[in-house]
């Protein structure tokens, strides 16, 4: 349980953040300059808010009314920085143990061997930080933060400095941590793909204000948050289960309430929960079931809402059974097809539009 209600002045920038969330991963989402880092700096005790409080479970880290302001070293908040910030004068092993050595033995719940195993750090232990790749540095930084025995882990755009294959690798590691260690994570990112894949609860920040707090699929689907969540990346999240693997064609079938999706092969067991993100611009509409096309996912559904904004592009909200799905089409197509609310349509989604970052284990 994380409970934040703070006000802070940073030069000309005024931050008012108020949210409470109880979830394995809380996503802090917003464009750059929205105040995301300021919020987690306040949680870590690096910056001091003007008023309000910060609480993790039943421990107040900060409470202006009662003059509580724990110094960073007493907060037990693990902070993973964008650029890792490993100590250059120590090898990987000393970096990992820096925080652990400063905790009382009885507080050492997270075991060193376990973290080294989870993050695959064994071959790196004797290396120096400057000889590590970006992905390796970030793994060491996560391990170092975990071994300091935190109550909560803060991650500030941990993938920002990495290339795409490394991003996907670190995402896998973060999912393992969530599943195996049970430490709540606050994950800061401006990437819809990362937030959609990892977060359970999302806090949307814009211009120093928390605009909305809610379940990730609800928030990412909301048309009114598009200015903050971004038009280009807008999309829907589907909670699915692995129904079957088609070994010959290397495809995986995912079932959800209202239908089935075909995606490129996923390394997951039958019945496992998987979250799939579909960008609205990857969804086309047809008024009749099309034949003779390459698109594998043809989902029958109904139009529930049409974006009223003017312009050449229109967002159409659909329901596939009970599952909401957004589609983005041109205004001309909307008019030519005569799409209206309540109409039955077919949503077309190319299987190849799913990549490793848009499908993850939930």
């Amino acid at each position: 349980m994380i409970d934040v209600d703070i006000e802070q002045q940073l030069g000309a920038f005024h931050l008012t953040a108020r949210f409470a969330a109880d979830a394995p991963i809380v996503g802090l989402f917003g464009r750059s300059g929205a105040g995301k880092t300021s919020v987690i700096n306040a949680i870590a005790g690096i910056a001091k808010p003007l008023r309000g409080h910060i609480r993790i479970n039943d421990v107040f880290l900060f409470d202006a009314a009662r003059s509580i302001d724990l110094p960073p070293e007493q907060r037990r908040v693990g902070y993973v920085f964008q650029d890792a910030l490993l100590f250059p004068h120590m090898d990987v092993e000393s970096n990992l143990l820096y925080g652990q050595r400063l905790r009382e033995p009885e507080d050492r719940v997270i075991d060193e061997a376990r973290v080294i195993e989870l993050l695959g750090l064994k071959p790196l232990l004797q290396r120096r930080p400057r000889t590590l790749s970006g992905g390796e540095k970030q793994r060491v930084a996560i391990g170092r933060a975990l071994l300091a025995q935190p109550r909560i882990l803060l991650m500030d755009e941990p993938l920002a400095a990495l290339d795409i294959p490394r991003k996907s690798e670190i995402l896998d590691y973060i999912e393992r941590l969530r599943d195996e260690l049970g430490i709540p994570i606050v994950y800061v990112s401006h990437s819809v793909a990362e937030i959609s894949r990892l977060a359970d609860i999302v806090v949307v920040l814009s211009d120093g204000k928390a605009l909305a707090v809610g379940e990730v699929d609800e928030i990412m689907g909301r048309l009114d948050l598009r200015p903050a969540t971004g038009r280009y990346e807008a999309g829907s999240l589907l909670e699915t289960r692995v129904a079957a693997h088609d070994i010959a064609d290397q495809l995986t079938r995912l079932s959800f309430e209202g239908g089935e999706l075909v995606v490129p092969h996923l390394n997951a067991a039958i019945g496992e929960r998987v979250r799939a993100r579909i960008r609205a611009r990857d969804v086309s509409l047809a008024t009749e079931r099309p034949t003779g096309i390459s698109i594998l996912n043809v989902l029958p559904g109904r139009v529930t809402a049409i974006d009223t904004a003017t312009g050449p592009i229109v967002d159409v909200q659909l329901a596939i059974g009970s599952t909401p799905l957004g589609a983005r089409i041109t205004r001309r197509s909307l008019q030519q097809l005569g799409v209206h609310v309540g109409q039955d349509v077919y949503a077309l989604v190319k299987a190849v539009s799913f990549d490793r970052r848009s499908v993850g284990y939930a």
Binding site: V77, F87, Y98, A145
Partner: protein, 233 residues
């Protein structure tokens, strides 16, 4: 020893002792002052900075004279130290060490300050979030990362101490066996008739000493680079 006369060995030993004691005593203060100047802004910072740098620009004789006035037997600081702690600087080797400290201090502070300013302060923030108190972070992150500057500053100040002449001779005079360091001895021989041969011998010693100091400095710099993680293992 090494073909040196007992007098020469005495002069060499005294010079080394004066320079060594001067850097050992001034190092902690230099680190403190450098840290204050590098990390904090406070009223009078420019003044402190100027005072620290003064020995670098003043004629050494002026520094020596100021020391004589302040730390002499009847000077305000000198008499107090003598009375309370029994510490006497005037005409003692300790006075020569004090003069060396002050002349080398700006070099030491500058080098350490540059090194401190080059440290990414977010590393210290990271260490705090990992559970390190302010002082522990200073000892475990800041100091090791400032080591190149500390080594350079110490060596510069040590070399400056070995060569100190003007402030020393003004403050503690030129007493053989007590305050007559290598440069003072060389000067004395050049002033005496027929002393050129002795002056030359001592000058050779001074050259050898400088070369050794440079070699040690080079070796230390490489070692600290390794501690810093700058090697490409």
């Amino acid at each position: 020893m090494l073909g040196l006369s007992p007098d020469e060995v005495g002069i060499l030993a005294l010079s080394l002792r004066v320079a060594l004691v001067s850097v050992i005593v001034s190092l902690p203060l230099a680190i403190l002052v450098a840290y204050g100047l590098a990390r904090f802004s406070f009223p009078g910072k420019t003044l402190v900075d100027a005072i620290v740098h003064l020995p670098l620009v003043l004629p050494p004789v002026v520094v020596g004279f100021a020391l004589l006035v302040l730390f002499g037997k009847r000077g305000p600081i000198g008499s107090a130290l003598d009375e309370w702690f029994g510490i006497v600087f005037a005409f003692r080797w300790t006075g020569a060490a004090l003069a060396s400290s002050i002349m080398g201090f700006p070099l030491m502070v500058r080098a350490i300050r540059l090194s401190l300013e080059a440290i990414d302060q977010r590393l210290e923030v990271a260490a705090r979030t990992l559970g390190g108190s302010r002082s522990w972070v200073f000892a475990s992150v800041t100091l090791p990362l400032a080591l190149p500057g500390i080594v350079t500053g110490t060596l510069l100040s040590f070399a400056r101490g070995l060569g100190e002449f003007g402030a020393t001779i003004t403050f503690v005079s030129n007493i053989p066996g007590e305050t007559q360091t290598l440069p003072l001895a060389i000067y004395t021989f050049t002033q005496a008739p027929g002393g050129d041969a002795q002056a030359l011998r001592l000058s050779v010693i001074a050259v050898v000493l400088s070369v050794v100091a440079l070699a040690v400095s080079e070796w230390l710099t490489r070692r600290t680079a390794r501690i810093q993680g700058d090697d490409r293992r």
